[in-house]
């Protein structure tokens, strides 16, 4: 009966369902809008009905209308109603509608919280699924906060269908509510190993998405992903993981080494193009992150390039496109491998597919050289002419300019040619990039002095023909070039052949139709021209001509005075008055030209674009501090009137002060220039090859072909850059001939000296000399400019909030918020298995079923167990180490004799994850690795088998960040201090063995030494060690390793003010030493990091005892503030000597010496980055000479590398550049040259004090040997 009623009402109400609506719309093609509006009226009626079926139908129709662009937000409440229907059908309609039109500012969203929660815990998995899907589209911060816990519970749902959706939606929750990331992360991580592949894939997906934005927080997951990568067969998952690795490798080069092999295997084995492509991409990322000098990776590059070539040659346009895309990534670091495929890429420029042409264009950027630039640009110009569609043409235009202007116009040999190209480009119709051309014109004209005459002539013609440009192009911005033209003609008017004509061109009435800012430049530069014209005319005795010119100005300027643009008006009226005054003077026959030209005297210098940003904040100036305390609220009203009457005296003094400063600044700048000029090693910022040529002997004899400027400058419509191409060809041919002659001569003369020719590009390229000896003026930078200009990140990036350390243990305060009070009412559903584990029982004790409680308990237990287990593991590890101390001796004689094993005593808590990662990474198959890798590998994952070998194992096990450093730097010598001479024979023996030990390390890091430029087949290095004697008495000897730095593995330099000192304690007496306490007097600058809870004068308890004859090592962490000066700290070691019958307190005083060197970190640096650094011109330089150094050059370098933590950037014969960085980010660059026994070191650093000290220390190192 009831059913019948329902059915009847449905028949009545259901005049239209979705299909009817669609049909109706299709039948009303002419008056669609009208039809739809009547439909919306009907829908509104339907929504007023009580029947949920009717409402759902209406909402369904609304969803369709929404797709057609109709705003349906007015029905938001009805959508919520439909969502809350108990029937799945309607619920789904409701959620779909909500997902299509709800967003953060939809206010009814807050009404849905409880409904969604109910649906999430519904017994029907599809109710839950639909709710999750809907929520993923409209989740808000509030929803995320309120539901995070429920969703987290769903991640462990029994049904994989729910699990995978819950896992996936967590990403959205994290984005909206970043606080949930840490509590949820462990479970998310668990899901990486879910038995269901769908859930696994979802977890990979989420973590990849997270890691992409903040990769460093996810480094510790690398081993897990690596396992997945080698075990998974799901291509989708593999692709995601491989992409993720691509994001991680830049942070951890060791990871890259580990990846190369499996990736190469995948490349060879997979048949899926998508997977192959991603593998290639990641291999490229790995190669980029690794040093380019590693010879064994050239095979990988070749493999990549080869595979990419296959892709590019494929007939499938998609593969072609992707191949080019990946190629451009290789190009950045390995341009040479790509350059060999130039033919292929040029071919792609002719492809009919625009996307492919664009990609090929990108590649061209890296392929140009001095030799082929003109050719390539010519080809591009042809494309410009052919191109239809402005976007592609604009792209071409920007590319041409990019290609030509890259690295400070490095590849341009003939600037006249470039100017003509720019002029030709102005003839493009409809381009948006007028300003780009204009800025190039300005830049070239200002910075290349030699070109000004030519540029001015060209610009004058441009101005003359301005009507051609301005025709109908007001809106597309090509007229911007007139801005440049006018400015150049005005500023360099002395080069104009016919200034009068140009002046007239600039004052034409048509100019008034140009945009305001261009008119302003016109007016201003007309004045400059005017002064030039006056000068020439007054000189030529015809007084009337000068007066006529003034009259011309007076006639034309009023047009601009009437301009609507304020700037134009202001300038015009100002200049008009000036000219009138001049005219008056002229009528009195006064010579004014001199004075007028004084208005525009002096030259403008180019300023680097980032100069302003790089002005350092002067010491002691806190920009955030108030200059005057802000008046408190209540006072403010009283004080305001006072301020009005206050005298402004202080202002005067301040302005005077700045004036002095400016003079001082100028003086200093001058001094600096002088210094740079006198310093032959100062690498100037201009393209090096040109400078080099000036220096290299005899090159100036090469005749520079003067290009005949009488060539008709610009005939509109006729491309003339081609002429330069021909001329260039001829010139080069001639040059080549000349060169050959010269070469012969040279051979006869025998070469007398060598320039630094090897440093860039292939030889053939160097043979091309620029047509003009152009001097590219460097852009000016402020004094002490700051080197860093990072932080280009978008502060509004939502992912920034997700930059959260995931390895820290979870604090109680971070637990996810639990269901609020309101929610408790709804939570009646009996099967709410997913209730929060963190719910405080007091909040809703009655409603919780016993089942829930049990589960909650279980969860908690699990967590507790886990943490216990972790603790256990840690403990276990320690025990193992201890065992090693005893057991390891027998295994390894080398270690045994030395008796040094280490125990970590880092006060800072090190976390197991990172060390695991480090451990995992440390057994990466380093190609030239020998013993060490083997031993480390044998020790396996930290918690498994007890370590079989010792000695090296603990080393790499808990060194964490220092680990790599140890490996890298352990290849060196011994510092001999005075005390050492007094040492007994016995000890010396010991020392030698000590060296021996270190030699093993150096073997392990052989790849490093190659990188450092020492070739293996040169003489072997003498053994080196950084340990030096700290203090000793009859009981104990302390040796300190040259303070080594710990930089947080995440490379956080702000926290990088830590220095770790390893101290070896050796028991020399026959009794047990115990209760050793190490204490130093903290200075203002340096402090010992003591365990938490101890006072500033407490000592650091050495965590071991020493039986007779045994030595052990402890690490102490110091925090330092300023690192520019060496530090000395006094300290005492107190200990108890325990005999069988007695125990005595003893103490030993010592001095810790922190050299400046110890604040440097060996940081590899690529030569191009190095050059850029020097180029930036913000480094101070200093130099030192070492006399009578009797050692091969590579030993010398190795010593500097080892003792002073430098890395070799580039080495050419007897000259090498080296680089290092301080823990606080100062760059230190060295140029070491040797001739005979003299070594000269030129150094640059942004911190002169630090540099001075480092140099002193280097000098000392060599004076000691």
């Amino acid at each position: 009966m009831a059913l019948k009623i329902v059915k009847g009402s449905i028949d009545r109400m259901f005049d239209k369902n979705l299909q009817d609506l669609v049909r109706g719309i299709r039948n009303h093609k002419e008056d669609e809008a009208k039809y739809i509006s009547t439909c919306i009226d009907e829908i509104k009626q339907e929504l007023k009905q009580d029947n949920i079926a009717v409402k759902a139908n209406a909402v369904c129709k609304l969803t369709y209308l929404q797709m057609l662009g109709y705003d349906v937000s007015w029905a938001a409440f009805n959508i919520v109603e439909v969502m809350s229907s108990s029937k799945f059908t309607y619920k789904r309609i409701g959620y779909l509608a909500a997902s299509q039109c709800f967003h953060e500012s939809t206010d009814v969203i807050m009404l849905t919280t409880n409904q969604i929660r109910k649906d999430l815990s519904s017994p029907n998995q599809y109710d839950t699924g639909v709710a999750l899907t809907g929520l993923s589209c409209f989740v808000t911060p509030d929803l995320a906060r309120d539901l995070a816990n429920d969703i987290m519970t769903l991640m462990s749902h029994t049904k994989p269908y729910i699990r995978k959706k819950a896992v996936l939606i967590m990403y959205k929750v994290f984005l909206k509510y970043p606080e949930s990331l840490r509590p949820a992360f462990p479970r998310l991580k668990e899901k990486l190993e879910d038995p269901d592949p769908g859930v696994q894939s979802a977890a990979v997906n989420v973590i990849c998405e997270l890691a992409r934005r903040n990769p460093k927080n996810y480094l510790s997951l690398a081993p897990l992903f690596f396992k997945l990568m080698t075990s998974s067969t799901n291509n989708w998952v593999l692709i995601k993981i491989i992409k993720l690795f691509g994001a991680l490798t830049p942070l951890e080069p060791r990871l890259g080494k580990k990846l190369i092999e499996p990736l190469t295997n995948l490349i060879h084995s997979t048949s899926a193009m998508s997977l192959l492509y991603e593998c290639v991409n990641t291999v490229i990322a790995v190669l980029i992150s690794l040093s380019s000098g590693m010879p064994n990776h050239s095979a990988s590059i070749q493999l990549c390039v080869q595979k990419l070539r296959i892709l590019i040659e494929d007939s499938d346009q998609n593969l072609k496109y992707l191949g080019l895309l990946a190629m451009s990534k290789i190009l950045k670091t390995h341009p040479k491998s790509v350059q060999s495929h130039k033919d292929l890429i040029l071919q792609c420029l002719d492809d009919k597919d625009e996307s492919i042409r664009l990609r090929a264009l990108d590649l061209l950027y890296g392929m140009v050289s001095k030799k082929n630039l003109m050719e390539i640009v010519k080809k591009l110009m042809l494309h410009v002419d052919k191109a239809e569609g402005t976007t592609y043409r604009d792209e071409l235009l920007t590319k041409i300019i990019d290609i030509c202007s890259q690295s400070n116009y490095q590849y341009i040999t003939n600037f006249e040619w470039y100017i003509s190209i720019l002029v030709e480009l102005t003839r493009l119709e409809g381009t948006r990039h007028g300003h780009l051309i204009a800025s190039q014109m300005l830049d070239v004209a200002i910075r290349v002095k030699a070109i000004r005459i030519f540029a001015v002539a060209q610009m004058a013609t441009l101005l003359d023909n301005a009507h051609l440009l301005t025709g109908n192009m007001q809106r597309n911005g090509i007229c911007e070039v007139l801005y440049a033209a006018a400015w150049i003609c005005g500023e360099f008017s002395e080069h104009l052949e016919n200034p009068m004509q140009t002046l007239e061109a600039m004052l034409r009435p048509k100019v008034a139709t140009l945009p305001g800012h261009i008119q302003a430049v016109y007016v201003q530069n007309a004045a400059k021209l005017f002064s030039t014209v006056l000068k020439s005319q007054e000189g030529s005795t015809e007084g009337t001509a000068a007066q006529e010119t003034s009259q011309l100005m007076i006639d034309r300027l009023p047009l601009f005075v009437q301009s609507a643009n304020l700037e134009v008006q202001e300038r015009a009226s100002c200049i008009l008055q000036l000219v009138k005054y001049i005219q008056k003077l002229q009528q009195k026959e006064v010579e004014v030209a001199e004075e007028v030209s004084a208005l525009f005297a002096g030259e403008l210098n180019p300023v680097a674009p980032k100069a302003q940003k790089k002005v350092p904040v002067p010491e002691g100036l806190d920009l955030d501090a108030w200059i005057n305390e802000p008046p408190s609220e209540s006072e403010s009203e009283d004080e305001q009137p006072k301020a009005i009457f206050a005298k402004e005296e202080p202002k005067h003094s301040r302005s005077r002060h700045t004036e002095v400063d400016e003079k001082e600044l100028a003086r200093r700048r001058e001094a600096r220039k002088q210094e740079q000029a006198n310093n032959p090693f100062y690498i100037k910022a201009s393209p090096s090859s040109q400078k080099v040529y000036q220096e290299s002997p005899g090159v100036e004899h090469i005749p520079v072909v003067q290009i005949d400027l009488t060539v008709p400058l610009k005939v509109p419509g006729l491309p003339m850059s081609d002429q330069y191409l021909k001329l260039e060809e001829e010139r080069r041919q001639k040059e080549r001939a000349d060169k050959k002659k010269k070469e012969k001569k040279k051979r006869k003369e025998k070469r007398s000296g060598r320039g630094r020719r090897h440093d860039s590009g292939p030889e053939s390229e160097e043979d091309i000399t620029p047509a003009h000896m152009v001097d590219i003026v460097t852009e000016e930078m402020p004094e002490n400019a700051l080197p860093s200009d990072d932080d280009d990140k978008d502060p509004n990036d939502p992912h920034k909030a997700l930059d959260i350390d995931l390895d820290k243990p979870l604090a109680d305060s971070e637990k996810l918020p639990v269901r609020s009070h309101r929610a408790a009412k709804v939570a009646k559903s009996p099967v709410e298995d997913g209730d929060a584990e963190n719910t405080p029982p007091s909040q809703e004790p009655k409603k919780k079923s016993s089942k829930e409680k049990r589960e909650k308990k279980k969860d908690k237990d699990r967590d507790r167990k886990k943490s216990k287990e972790e603790k256990k593991k840690k403990k276990h590890k320690h025990e193992e180490k201890e065992e090693d101390l005893l057991g390891g001796e027998a295994d390894e004689p080398v270690v045994q004799s030395e008796d040094t094993t280490e125990v970590v005593a880092l006060p800072t808590s090190t976390n197991a994850e990172v060390s695991d990662l480090d451990f995992w990474l440390s057994n990466a198959p380093v190609p030239s690795n020998t013993q060490e890798a083997a031993t480390v590998a044998a020790t396996a994952e930290a918690d498994s088998v007890p370590e079989a070998t010792s000695g090296t194992a603990p080393d790499s096990d808990h060194d964490e960040p220092k680990n790599s450093e140890l490996e890298e730097t352990k290849s060196s010598k011994h510092k001999k201090k005075k005390q050492k001479k007094e040492k007994e024979e016995k000890e010396k023996k010991k020392k030698k063995k000590h060296h021996h030990h270190h030699r093993h390390h150096s073997d392990g890091g052989a790849d490093e030494s190659v990188q450092n430029g020492t070739v293996e087949d040169e003489e072997p290095l003498p053994p080196m060690s950084n340990y030096c004697l700290l203090a000793e008495n009859s009981y104990i000897k302390m040796m300190m390793e040259d303070a080594d730095e710990v930089c947080d593995i995440q490379g956080n330099l702000q926290d990088g003010s830590q220095v770790v000192v390893s101290v070896i304690f050796e028991n020399k007496c026959d009794s047990l030493l115990k209760s050793m306490e190490f204490n130093v007097l903290d200075s203002l600058n340096s402090k010992l990091q003591r365990p938490e809870g101890s006072g500033p004068h407490d000592g650091f308890t050495v965590p071991f005892q020493l039986p007779p004859g045994v030595s052990n090592e402890a690490r102490l962490v110091f925090t330092v503030q300023s690192i520019v000066m060496p530090q000395k700290m006094k300290g005492t070691l107190t200990f108890i000597v325990k005999n069988e019958d007695s125990s005595i307190h003893e103490k030993l005083d010592f001095k810790l010496h922190f050299t400046c060197t110890s604040y440097l970190i060996t940081t590899p640096c690529y030569s191009d980055a190095f050059a850029k650094l020097l180029e930036s011109g913000d480094l101070k330089c200093s130099s030192v000479r070492l006399e009578e150094v009797n050692m091969p050059f590579h030993h010398l370098l190795a010593r500097i590398c080892f003792h002073h933590h430098f890395s070799v950037v580039e080495r050419i014969d007897s000259c090498a550049s080296m680089y290092s960085r301080s823990i606080q980010g100062h760059h230190v660059c060295l140029l070491v040259k040797t001739s005979g026994q003299t070594v000269s070191i030129d150094a640059k650093c942004d911190e002169p004090t630090l540099l001075g000290n480092v140099l002193d220390e280097i000098k000392q190192t060599f004076s000691q040997c």
């Binding site: 329902v6 059915k7 929404q66 057609l68 662009g69 029907n124 996936l168 769908g198 998609n318 996307s355």
Partner: protein, 162 residues
């Protein structure tokens, strides 16, 4: 991440639009129009990728599309997605539609956009790929349809469209 999934026909009429980021209705329409403009002027045998430019999201985003008979399927994705992977996904989507509608044609999409949405929801969720296995997708979609039928037999019997 997938930013948007659009299906429109050869004349630019939208057949399905799914935005995983909020835009106003007007912007959505504009995006659809511009995307259609970009995609429709491309030849058949050119690559399936397009730089979206300022359309959606900026330079990190790409349009990846496939053209089937009268319909364009366009995915707007960022750089974390594999280009070829998404092409495969579109293929899976179309094949799934084909299975669910039995020889899918444009009319099916026109009249049953809600069903298409439901199928899509099993593949992509909140802009992230949920499932790529066609059988799994079809199984879930069928199960839900069955549920729907059992609930709504009342008017399903009176009004059957296909």
């Amino acid at each position: 991440m997938i930013r948007a999934i659009l299906i429109f026909n050869n004349h630019g009429k939208p057949r399905l639009s799914k935005f995983y980021e909020h835009y106003t209705e007007d912007t959505e329409q504009q995006i659809i129009r511009e995307t259609f403009h970009l995609v429709s002027k491309r030849d058949e045998n050119v690559c399936n990728f397009l730089e979206g430019g300022m359309l959606i999201g900026g330079s990190d985003y790409k349009l990846i599309y496939r053209h089937y008979a009268t319909l364009y399927f366009v995915f707007c994705v960022d750089s974390s997605e594999s280009e070829l992977g998404i092409l495969d996904l579109i293929q899976v989507f179309v094949e799934t539609l084909d299975k669910c509608f039995e020889n899918v044609c444009e009319l099916d999409l026109i009249f049953h956009v809600d069903k298409v949405h439901n199928i899509l929801a099993e593949m992509v969720m909140g802009g992230m790929v949920l499932e790529t296995n066609m059988n799994e997708i079809i199984m879930q979609v069928d199960a839900q349809n069955k549920m729907e039928k059992s609930e709504t037999f009342i008017f399903q019997s009176t009004r059957q469209d296909r």
